[in-house]
């Protein structure tokens, strides 16, 4: 192992980490950025490799596919054409995309409306039972999403729990059409993603210094005003994380509309799924995925900038 004098410790530990001669590389980095930076870079190498393997690589594959075409038997023909993108942005999908964003937005707002009080309750009043409550929030994860969604079919169908109860109570005499409607899809999304909202909200509310709320009360703010001016602004990071964690997968979800939806609840996730399976047009499916991802990324960027800075003004 060469140990260049000018790099001292950083070089030594970097080499030790790599278990081999890391001389020239880290020497170069060391000169460029300083020793600790070089070590940090090398320490991050496994993470980077991981990201590269499990994020960048599949994305790269999808990107390559998206410029290709569909072979006669559903195989991918590589090429370089924007056809798939022009098809992806065809007006045909506009209602589907609007519906997907609409459903996801409503579900996000509903999870926020339900998750916030829940997270607040656990963080502030949970006391010694905090962990039990958190586990209860996460319990649904112990069952597959599919099974949980199926159980909504049992609850909502015409002879399901809700209709049976309503009929038994003589509130209705004909079963309500609850299933296979936008209502049931939004309900399914809201239910399915509630923990994704609650947990980050809990994390940020838990961190929140309770004396800040007392300080607000002390300065004349009623409970509701303290909530609006102190608690909520300080839980913005949790709100951002929660809304993203709900909204993004909700936009692309296909299981929920597949199982709980009707003929008019097609979401963009279903379209993409159809391309990959039923239509076996992977190139088109890839272009659709990539376009959706791009739209979401752009949206997230503006959202985080707006919400993230607004309250700090």
């Amino acid at each position: 192992m060469t140990k260049p004098a000018e790099n001292g410790m950083a070089e030594a530990s970097a080499s030790a980490i790599l278990g081999q001669n890391a001389g020239p590389l880290s020497r170069a980095i060391g000169r460029l950025r300083g020793h600790s930076f070089a070590v940090a870079n090398l320490l991050m190498a496994p993470t980077m490799l991981w990201l590269l393997l499990f994020l960048a690589l599949p994305l790269g594959v999808i990107l390559v596919y998206s410029f290709g075409g569909r072979g006669t038997y559903g195989d991918v023909i590589y090429g370089f054409s924007f056809d798939n993108y022009s098809r992806a942005f065809s007006p045909l999908w506009l209602p589907v995309i609007l519906r997907s964003f609409g459903f996801a937005a409503i579900a996000t707002l509903l999870t926020l409306a339900m998750g916030y009080p829940l997270a607040y309750f656990i963080a502030v009043y949970g006391g010694r039972r905090k962990n039990i409550y958190l586990i209860l929030v996460m319990v649904p994860f112990w069952t597959s999403y599919l099974i949980r969604t199926y159980s909504w079919i049992v609850i909502l169908r015409s002879q399901g729990v809700v209709n049976t109860l309503l009929q038994w109570a003589n509130i209705i005499d004909q079963p309500l059409d609850l299933l296979n409607t936008p209502f049931s899809v939004i309900l399914g999304l809201t239910y399915g993603f509630l923990p994704f909202m609650t947990l980050p909200l809990y994390a940020s509310l838990e961190k929140l210094d309770k004396s800040l709320i007392e300080a607000a009360w002390d300065l004349g703010a009623s409970r509701i005003w303290a909530l609006l001016t102190v608690t909520i602004p300080l839980s913005i990071p949790g709100i951002i994380a929660g809304t993203l964690l709900v909204f993004i997968p909700a936009v692309g979800d296909f299981v929920t509309p597949d199982l709980l939806g009707g003929p008019d609840t097609l979401m963009i996730g279903n379209v993409i799924q159809q391309q990959f399976l039923a239509a076996r047009d992977w190139a088109y499916g890839s272009a659709l995925s990539f376009s959706l991802m791009a739209i979401l990324l752009l949206g997230i960027f503006f959202y985080v900038r707006k919400v993230g800075t607004e309250n700090l003004a």
């Binding site: 006669t72 038997y73 015409s158 296979n180 296909f254 009707g262 003929p263 008019d264 399976l277 239509a279």
Partner: protein, 383 residues
């Protein structure tokens, strides 16, 4: 094609595991028990030994220690595999899938080591197009002689060069005879406004269009864009009457009377029938689709010869009949008729009468023209 586990399709895609319906659960549990029992049995007989056997038509060739059989779930009799293992001393590693899409995706993802797979007719064409199947040495499968003639000259594989049929069925209308007062003998039923909100259509692209094409008097395998467009318009009109598009949940929905009229596969409707006696099945007069799932050998199969021995075993009349008697699907094996219970053999829903048979068509892989259907389907669903 065994469609009852279609519901697992999404799950398989998701990498999730576990069945969701009660029926699926019970059957699954049973299958697991069967597997465990089978391997236990093998161990007991010291079945790990390599055995030599004389194939009926050919010379003597060594059998592999084990073969890998990838089949639709719940699609085999309880004793089919144990009996084979006992007789031939070959361990059968049995694995299940629940959709052609899953099967294809798995094969395309690389070498999988399966010796036998059971794709559906049109999928065989696709797989041949993708060049992932290998030719079967029929000398090792003399029992193909037991097949009905029409399965020996199926359009997707005349002469059984690449496929040996497993079980077959039809596509039609499942309906609740207590709720549906009209006579169900036409696809028109799926456009009947009296049952608005109680009708379901399958979500398979070609199957959906086949309904409208039959109703219009066209071939379900048409490559004529105008006819497909006409069918699309007809399907768009239908949308407002539908509860939803589903290829899996309609079994439950028929049983629970959430759906009264469902476009579906024969076997699925029989599943619903077991739970609700009012559920009936009908193959419309305009004609309908028939399908057959067939055993094929992938290109990379490790033990081709043993796979062929297994296929031959399957088409012994008693073995083929045993499967039908257990799973309630029709057998492609004519010689098996004498061993199939009369209850099944005489059920017109399973073994349709000749005039119905004459109107049954296989879906054909259309190659490039599949695109016509894909596009039309997207327009239908997005409309």
């Amino acid at each position: 094609m065994k469609k009852m586990d279609k519901e697992l399709r999404v799950m398989a895609l998701d990498g999730l595991a576990g069945p969701m319906t009660r029926r699926g659960f019970i059957k699954r549990a049973g299958a697991a028990g069967l597997l465990v029992g089978a391997s236990g049995f093998i161990a007991a007989c010291g079945g790990g030994e390599t055995t030599t056997t004389a194939a009926a038509g050919g010379g003597t060739q060594e059998l592999a220690k084990e073969i890998y059989f990838y089949n639709w779930s719940d699609y085999i009799a309880e004793d089919t595999i144990p009996n084979f293992q006992e007789e031939f001393g070959v361990k059968v590693v049995y694995d299940n899938y629940s959709s052609n899409d899953t099967l294809l995706a798995k094969l395309q993802s690389g070498a999988t080591g399966y010796d036998i797979i059971v794709p559906t007719d049109y999928m065989i064409t696709t797989m041949l197009g993708l060049d992932i199947l290998q030719e079967i040495d029929l000398d090792n499968v003399p029992n193909v002689a037991n097949l009905y003639q029409r399965f020996r000259e199926a359009p997707f594989d005349p002469g059984n060069k690449y496929s040996i049929p497993w079980q077959w069925g039809t596509t039609g209308i499942g309906y609740n005879s207590a709720k549906v007062t009209d006579w169900v003998d036409s696809w028109d039923m799926l456009w009947n406004e009296a049952y608005s909100g109680k009708i379901t259509m399958m979500s398979e692209i070609r199957d959906v269009f086949a309904v409208a094409l039959f109703r219009l008097g066209y071939s379900p395998n048409t490559r004529d864009a105008a006819q497909i467009e006409e069918a699309k318009q007809m399907l768009i009109e239908q949308k407002s009457l539908l509860k939803h598009y589903t290829s899996d949940t309609y079994i439950d929905e028929l049983a629970s009377e959430d759906a009264w009229i469902s476009h579906g596969w024969s076997g699925d409707v029989f599943q619903a029938q077991l739970e609700n006696e009012a559920v009936m099945y009908s193959v419309p007069n305009e004609g309908s689709l028939t399908w057959v799932d067939s055993m094929c050998i992938p290109k990379d199969a490790p033990s081709k010869h043993t796979a062929e021995v297994f296929m031959n075993y399957i088409h012994r009349p008693e073995v083929a009949a045993g499967i039908s008697n257990y799973v309630y699907y029709a057998s492609p094996n004519e010689a098996a008729e004498e061993f199939i219970s009369s209850e099944i053999l005489e059920d017109p829903q399973i073994y349709p009468p000749q005039e119905t048979m004459d109107k049954l068509v296989f879906l054909e892989e259309l190659g490039e023209d599949t695109e016509l259907y894909n596009t039309a389907y997207q327009e239908l669903r997005a409309s």
